[in-house]
């Protein structure tokens, strides 16, 4: 088999393809988007299904249907996407998973492109299932394959936890043989109908299985303990990308410490105990929250031993790890450098592209709100969130997918006027429809501006399910007063007219929806190219 040059996300996706998936589902989100982009390419002329879905919850439930049918399925998302899919995720742990179901979740420590840095290992622990955490591209490939076997063996979903640095790093991967797809073999409905009578039985079964999961983790080929008899002072527990930073620096430590690499959860208790018995101090190096550290320490620690890491400040408890932070945690001097960073360098934050339709919508909004100093603009997740930064300073909030609409309703009911929600077309489809239905049913005094740029722009231009007329029909169908569904075209020359329309709708004492319709410049370029071909 050949070596392939792949992103970490792509390595995991290829692992799923070679494990014989029948389908892959996802919603775009950095740093997980490249998983589905790869699957779509790899699915060729329909070797398996690979689709973008409306949101992560829907993607997860579609995956459950595939598993019920006895087929293998990969569902992928960014860390906060699992919050959206948390309902099916938690409940699926007590169905009797039939065809292998692997949940690839990419965390974003350091918040390169996210609103928080939550750690998915807690979700796996919450659902009491297996989580695998690769350190390298090869592991991402191999573990994804293995995850399907484990899912079918233990009848549980298996989480594959990635992080930005691995998702978006490229390296070589050695391919292995391709496994055949499963045949349709439907599950027993009694194990999937979570009425209390069945759910109690299934939950008890999952609890009984916990010991077996720990036993598996204990012997997992992805966990390894390298004990050094010469060094009884320091032992390291490292996981995921943290392991790489340890190995980067370990050559400078003499005598080298013992290293326990953890890539399989639940935690391998016996291996941790073996290490603890051998050394005085355990240093835990893990990307994300201090998950291993907290679990190892418990409430009272291990008598006579020091457990060190993020909780005692040896490593920062926020942000992303890197080889330098880990070097310092290992009490090694920094490498010699040519120079130090200049403090007079200005930052260069991301900004809206030249010609972006959002610029014209934001300008019209700013102009319309000039006479309303008390206005609040509730915004959402997408490129337009950059409207919070100078020179616009035009939006006041960005919390989670769809919250612009629901927060506008709450804000309005609490007495804020004007309340404006600003949301993109794909974010609206993902999580804005239901709150707009709520607002429409009460004709809440608020104005929702939908920035329809016909694509999921921020994550790289994935297709959106509804744009243009289709999107407008959805809004009409929700019961919004047709006289207060307005359309504007965000262009410089329309500034005065657009600001006037926004103003009129703010003055309307009820719900208004303004659709600001112009394609993302990249999307427009893509279409033009397609038309010329």
């Amino acid at each position: 088999m050949t070596n392939k040059l792949l992103l970490g996300d792509e390595a995991a996706a290829l692992g799923a393809v070679h494990a014989g998936i029948t389908a892959g589902y996802s919603y775009p989100g950095t740093p997980a988007s490249e998983v589905m982009e790869y699957l779509i390419k790899a699915s060729g002329s329909g070797e398996f299904k690979a689709n973008w879905c409306v949101n992560e919850k829907v993607a997860y439930e579609e995956a459950l249907g595939v598993s019920f049918a006895g087929k293998r399925v990969l569902v992928s998302m960014k860390h906060v996407g699992l919050n959206v899919a948390a309902d099916p995720f938690m409940n699926s742990s007590i169905t009797r998973i039939n065809g292998g179901l692997v949940v690839l979740v990419a965390d974003d420590p350091g918040m390169h492109s996210s609103q928080n840095e939550q750690d998915t290992r807690y979700y796996a622990q919450f659902a009491q299932i297996i989580c695998l955490e690769p350190s390298s591209h090869q592991e991402a490939y191999d573990m994804t394959r293995k995850a399907f076997d484990l899912s079918e063996y233990f009848h549980i979903p298996v989480v594959l936890r990635m992080v930005t640095r691995l998702s978006h790093s490229r390296a070589q991967v050695k391919e292995r043989t391709v496994r055949e797809k499963n045949k349709v073999n439907r599950a027993d409905g009694k194990d999937w109908t979570l009425l209390p009578v069945n759910a109690r039985r299934r939950f008890a079964s999952l609890m009984k299985e916990q010991k077996m999961l720990v036993k598996f983790s204990q012997g997992s080929p992805f966990n390894s303990l390298d004990l050094n008899e010469e060094n009884t002072k320091l032992g390291i527990i490292a996981s995921g990308i943290g392991y790489n930073y340890v190995m980067e620096n370990i050559k400078d430590l003499s005598p080298p410490p013992s290293v326990l690499k953890i890539s399989t959860y639940p935690l391998p208790q016996g291996l941790i105990q073996d290490l603890a018995e051998h050394v005085d101090t355990i240093l835990v190096i893990e990307e994300g929250y201090p998950f291993i550290e907290k679990n190892t320490k418990g409430l009272f620690g291990i008598k006579g031993k020091t457990i060190s890491g993020k909780l005692d400040g040896v490593l920062p408890i926020t942000g992303e790890l890197n080889p330098d932070l880990v070097r310092s945690a290992l009490q090694l001097d920094p490498l010699r450098r040519k120079g130090s960073a200049h403090d007079w360098l200005p930052g260069r934050p991301p900004q809206l592209c030249k010609g972006c339709p959002h610029i014209d919508t934001l300008k019209a909004l700013i102009q319309a709100l000039e006479t309303y100093p008390k206005a609040v603009v509730f915004s959402d997740i997408g490129c337009y969130t950059l409207g919070a930064l100078p020179p616009y300073n035009a939006v006041d909030t960005c919390v989670c997918m769809g919250a612009s609409v629901s927060m506008s309703k709450g804000g309005s009911e609490a007495g804020i006027y004007p309340c404006v929600g600003v949301i993109g077309d794909s974010t609206f489809i993902h999580s804005g429809i239901t709150p707009l239905l709520d607002a429409a049913s009460l004709d809440t005094n608020m104005t929702v501006v939908i920035l329809d740029n016909s694509t999921v722009a921020m994550t790289g231009g994935q297709p959106t399910v509804a744009t243009g007329e289709k999107l407008e029909n959805i809004i009409r169908g929700l019961g919004v007063d047709l006289r207060h569904i307005r359309r504007i075209v965000p262009l410089k020359k329309n500034l005065e007219e657009n600001a006037e329309i926004i103003k009129e709708e703010i003055e309307h004492a009820g719900l208004s929806v303004i659709i600001s319709f112009r394609a993302c410049i990249y999307e427009a370029r893509k279409r033009k190219k397609g038309a010329n071909k």
Partner: protein
């Protein structure tokens, strides 16, 4: 043998294209490599960097440690300075002299170039002019790759082959323009 490279520039300048070409070349040269890049929000006109690590033995960290970079290759002068603490004491900076001004507080260019010169080992290239000479103002990234290529552990012929591979779908004209950009960059660096 190892070589750590920091690629720098502004979103849209083609930093990831340089990275991809180096990846191809590393693969063809039978080297181990890891290359970390930035996707998502910061690609929108913000500072973009990529860490490239080449070695004949297994590489662990996807990120280059501070003080380990043998080379900073930057398509923009200010962006080169942002990563100066990554540079090894004997490291080299290969940088474009042409600023990309999309922020209101861009410092005086002479101050930026002086700071680069003070950091010692450097090659400053007029990538804007050379890319125009090559027939494509969008090829500044490839000019800079050419300028840095003489300091890389990768062979020139393999890099050129990788450029051909990368632009294959764009047709011969684009391939030729980029190879010319590479050649002009390499010549300007005097290697």
């Amino acid at each position: 043998m190892k070589q750590d490279i920091i690629l720098a520039g502004v979103g849209g300048q083609g930093i990831l294209t340089i990275a991809n070409i180096i990846d191809y070349a590393a693969q063809k040269s039978g080297l181990c490599f890891k290359q970390a890049e930035v996707h998502g929000m910061s690609q929108r006109g913000g500072a973009v960097q990529s860490h490239v690590r080449l070695s004949d033995v297994e590489i662990y960290s996807d990120l280059v440690p501070k003080g380990a970079a043998d080379l900073i290759l930057s398509v923009e002068p200010l962006e080169a300075l942002r990563y100066i603490d990554y540079l090894h004491v004997e490291g080299k900076i290969v940088v474009s002299r042409n600023p990309y001004v999309n922020i209101p507080d861009y410092p005086d260019l002479d101050k930026v170039l002086d700071a680069i010169k003070q950091s010692g080992n450097h090659v400053i290239v007029d990538s804007e002019k050379l890319s125009r000479d090559a027939g494509s103002p969008r090829s500044q990234n490839i000019v800079m790759l050419g300028a840095a290529s003489g300091f890389m552990v990768l062979e020139e012929a393999i890099l050129i082959q990788s450029i051909k591979e990368f632009f294959k779908s764009k047709g011969d004209k684009i391939i030729d323009m980029n190879i010319e950009a590479f050649r002009l960059g390499r010549e300007a660096a005097g290697t």
